[in-house]
């Protein structure tokens, strides 16, 4: 199983067990280089034997639905609850990627997660990296998960 399949498996598992939402992989270009019109991204760094960044990019309506289901409450705007939920998603995905990449779980360290929200924003990694990007569908819309790893 390659890393792409493992990220799909992890994402589905996190969403079905923690967020209480089923997500499916969709065949669309998930590149995060495209500007996000209105949304939130959760980001966490990987350091140590493998260096990289794991990011989850979520359009605002999808982020509200995910947070609502995750926290079991109504959410109407991108607020601290949404930031916490998206940061926690990045944290869990980062933890899974760490396990996937690491021999004994000790040679890769995770940073703290952070979120960025805004309108018309786009990302760029500052180095030549290997990018694995996937788009997932929910009832409300799609979001993407992107792993950048230093070669």
């Amino acid at each position: 199983m390659d890393i792409k399949d493992k990220i799909v498996e992890s994402t589905k598992e996190i969403f079905s067990t923690m967020v209480m939402m089923d997500v499916t992989v969709v065949d669309q270009d998930p590149t995060a280089r495209q500007a996000i019109r209105d949304g939130i991204s959760g980001i966490i760094g990987l350091a140590g034997t493998r260096k990289g960044v794991l990011a989850i990019h979520i359009p605002a309506p999808v982020a509200l639905a995910i947070t609502g289901s995750f926290l079991g409450m109504e959410v109407e705007e991108i607020n601290e609850d949404v930031e916490d939920a998206v940061g926690e998603l990045a944290n869990m995905l980062g933890g899974n990627v760490k396990t996937i990449l690491s021999e004994n779980g000790r040679d890769i360290e995770l940073s703290l997660p952070t979120t960025i929200s805004g309108t018309n924003y786009d990302f760029q990694t500052a180095k030549d990296v290997e990018v694995t990007a996937l788009a997932f569908a929910t009832d409300t819309g799609t979001f993407s998960v992107e792993l950048q790893l230093e070669r």
């Binding site: 140590g48 960044v53 360290e109 940073s111 703290l112 805004g118 018309n120 760029q124 990694t125």
Partner: protein
């Protein structure tokens, strides 16, 4: 370890030597949440180890263009890929200064890779339970913020 001093000295040194644009520390805020609503560009890098965290370097649009132009030695008209690259690299350099200072204090940290973002109404969240410190610098071209979020293991 005095993180504020480390960040302040590291940032000032990098701006004096590499960016060649003098900047002045205006104020330091330490709280769990803050909004950098004037920022149009943010470069960030995570780190892990004995202390885990994230460093962000944000700036207003004009400031970002001046800083990038001076750092790369070219004219910058728009918030383009060069600006993103420059802010990723500045975040990387400031994180390098933090890593050195941590090393001298017997604290081991490893750096992730930088990412940067350009956008409108950028809002960067902290993490509940983590410490967050924001240093606001100014220059004639505008403002620049260095923020550190960290959690001691």
């Amino acid at each position: 370890m005095d993180y504020v001093t480390v960040l302040q000295e590291g940032t000032v040194e990098i701006f004096e030597t590499m960016v060649m644009l003098p900047i002045v520390l205006q104020r330091v805020t330490e709280h769990s949440d803050s909004t950098l609503t004037d920022a149009r560009v943010t470069g960030m890098i995570g780190f892990g180890g004995t202390i885990k965290g994230m460093i962000g370097v944000s700036a207003t649009a004009d400031m970002a263009k001046i800083v990038t132009g001076s750092l790369l030695g070219m004219e910058i008209a728009h918030l383009d890929d060069d600006v993103k690259d420059a802010f990723g690299e500045i975040a990387n350099m400031i994180a390098g200064a933090l890593k050195s200072a941590c090393g001298e204090n017997g604290i081991d940290i490893d750096l992730a890779i930088p990412n940067s973002v350009v956008g409108d109404c950028l809002h960067i969240s902290g993490l509940r339970g983590a410490k967050r410190v924001v240093l606001e610098f100014s220059a004639s071209a505008g403002k620049l913020w260095i923020e550190l979020k960290y959690l001691e293991a």
